[in-house]
């Protein structure tokens, strides 16, 4: 079983995001990038599958600050191959990224491709289904749990309200991961450092990044910051009346 896991780095929300003077992009001065959390789950799921049934896990990412460390960490956890796409990804949208991944993944000929079902900065669609379409493969998203079964997999697809569908998908296929079967594991820093000395990151230059998503942002803005609470004054009766009114207004009563 060959598993490919394309991942993406996104702005870290721990830092306050600011908008650059053009008004259409995030200010990158203080921007810190971090692995898209669901992609981290996809890596974990791939390693779990490998541990269970054997196989080879390849993790792929476009180059960005911190990507090397992440790839080495993935290797320390059990990934076999690390591939970094190099080039100027600063203006690449998800369509471009999906195409770039598709070109590299075609050569790998994986049986299964796992990626996070979404990222918080997706605007022109999500990488997983775009990639699936460029590769001509079926796609099932919101997956939390995978069982291998010969030339197909049974994916646990999550719906709102806790309903789960067991969905059979013919391989090769792309699955959008909502959660790995167990949270991403911890790997001691000493192990990562060891891997840094031995593992190799294969670089694949990407020259022709076609941002064909076609979504043009006119402006970015921050939603109004919540002010300090409006204090409800009066007797317990008054306050209770106001709360009941509020519950009705918001449709919870």
């Amino acid at each position: 079983m060959k598993i490919a896991v394309p991942i993406k780095f996104v702005p870290d929300l721990v830092e306050e995001l600011t908008i650059d003077p053009s008004g259409t992009a995030l200010d990158t001065t203080w921007l810190r990038l971090i692995i898209n959390e669901l992609d981290d789950h996809a890596v974990e799921q791939a390693i779990l599958l490998k541990e269970r049934s054997g196989g080879e896990v390849t993790v792929l990412s476009a180059e960005a600050d911190g990507v090397d460390d992440f790839l080495f960490t993935a290797a320390a956890k059990g990934a076999d191959r690390l591939i970094k796409l190099t080039g100027d990804f600063s203006a690449a949208d998800n369509h471009a990224l999906g195409r770039a991944f598709a070109d590299v993944i075609k050569e790998l000929q994986p049986d299964l491709i796992l990626t996070g079902v979404q990222a918080h900065n997706d605007l022109d669609g999500s990488v997983g289904p775009l990639l699936a379409e460029y590769l001509g493969l079926p796609y099932v998203g919101y997956v939390a749990g995978i069982a291998l079964d010969g030339n197909k997999v049974v994916a646990r697809k999550e719906y709102a309200g806790g309903l789960v569908a067991e969905v059979e998908v013919k391989l090769p296929a792309v699955l959008g991961i909502q959660a790995a079967e167990q949270p991403p594991r911890y790997v001691a820093y000493s192990k990562i450092r060891q891997v840094m000395g031995t593992a190799k990151i294969e670089e694949r230059p990407v020259s022709n990044l076609e941002s064909s998503g076609g979504v043009v942002v006119g402006r970015l803005f921050q939603p109004e910051v919540a002010e300090r609470a409006t204090m409800l004054e009066g007797s317990p009766e008054d306050v209770a009346d106001k709360l009941v009114g509020l519950f009705k207004e918001l449709g919870t009563l």
């Binding site: 995001l17 999500s126 289904p129 309903l163 939603p223």
Partner: protein
């Protein structure tokens, strides 16, 4: 290209998802800008009854046994054909387990741009998308044509419901052979305890509840409201509520419509799990409690004075 706005109706096990109604409301606003009609696109098997309360100008209905359960594969084939044939101004999908299996794939297949996470549209045909965990909104002209996924919050479901059944046109399905995706079975949610992350409202209690017996008050209020009781760390640590009810860093992350925080100070560890709630209402006798910094409404009335009155009034209001 027509000026119609298509809405792909999401339904599962005989129920139309709320997001579909909200999308119809969003489509209505877009149709005003475009001058076209709102067209509900319903795929299923013996499912035409689901169209009865859709606030759409008309319904395109595709019936096929292979559409009895949602699968990305069959839906994509049918929708690709419909979109190519009718060339609508825009097609709306839910930003959900169903819609997200479709929108991006169709974008790549048909070469039509897709805009994710639209919360609202403007009267002049712009999309307003919520990105970066709600910290940033992105606005732009909705490409023409466009596909879009919609998140809840921008439109109310009621706005997309109608007492009148819209006219329905049955469209024959294309060949649906060699499908690669099939639903084997559904697994019901574990109902041994409520999943507080899925509740619309939470009555959440903190240290201020003081002792185990007082939890009955919170239960009574939650019962009257038809919602669940959750708690901050100290309450769960005391064993007064099971860990399934814990909100916070080491517990569940919740974002209900209303989070009623009773006697919760608002420590960062707790806020991490509930800060994204739509409306936080805080009841705390300490006017300096940090919970008031993130709450929309607050009161310093003692919860033990407030709760009995509130429970009565909620019961009356039902």
């Amino acid at each position: 290209m027509s000026q119609d706005i298509f809405v792909v109706i999401e339904h599962l096990r005989g129920q139309v998802a709320d997001v579909s109604y909200a999308m119809l409301a969003g489509a209505r606003q877009l149709s005003k800008a475009s001058g076209g009609e709102v067209v509900a696109v319903l795929l299923g098997h013996n499912a035409q009854g689901l169209a009865s309360n859709l606030a759409a100008d008309r319904v395109l209905y595709v019936d096929h046994p292979a559409l009895a359960e949602f699968t990305s594969d069959a839906y994509q084939i049918v929708l690709a054909g419909l979109i190519q044939e009718h060339a609508p101004r825009a097609v709306l999908f839910g930003h959900s387990s169903i819609g997200m299996d479709l929108a991006s794939s169709l974008s790549a297949r048909l070469g039509i741009p897709v805009v994710n996470s639209c919360r609202t549209f403007t009267d002049d045909g712009k999309f307003v998308s919520q990105i970066c965990g709600g910290k940033i909104m992105a606005e732009g002209n909705l490409p023409s044509p466009a596909l879009a996924t919609m998140i809840p919050g921008g439109y109310k479901a009621e706005e997309g419901q109608s007492a009148q059944t819209p006219p329905l046109t049955a469209v024959s399905a294309p060949a649906l052979d060699n499908l690669r995706v099939a639903v084997k079975q559904y697994i019901e949610p574990d109902t041994s305890d409520v999943d507080i992350s899925k509740e619309k409202m939470l009555v959440s209690i903190g240290r201020g509840i003081q002792n185990k017996d007082n939890i009955e008050l919170a239960n009574e209020l939650a019962d009257a409201l038809g919602c669940a009781v959750s708690a901050s760390r100290p309450v769960v640590d005391q064993g007064w509520l099971p860990t399934t009810r814990l909100v916070g860093k080491s517990g569940k992350h919740v974002k209900p419509k209303i989070y009623l925080a009773l006697g919760i100070s608002g420590a960062p560890e707790h806020v991490e799990g509930m800060g994204e709630s739509e409306v936080i209402v805080a009841v705390n006798t300490d006017p300096n409690a940090p919970i008031f910094n993130i709450a929309k409404y607050g009161t310093t009335i003692d919860m033990f004075d407030l709760l009995p009155v509130l429970i009565e009034k909620v019961k009356q209001a039902k």
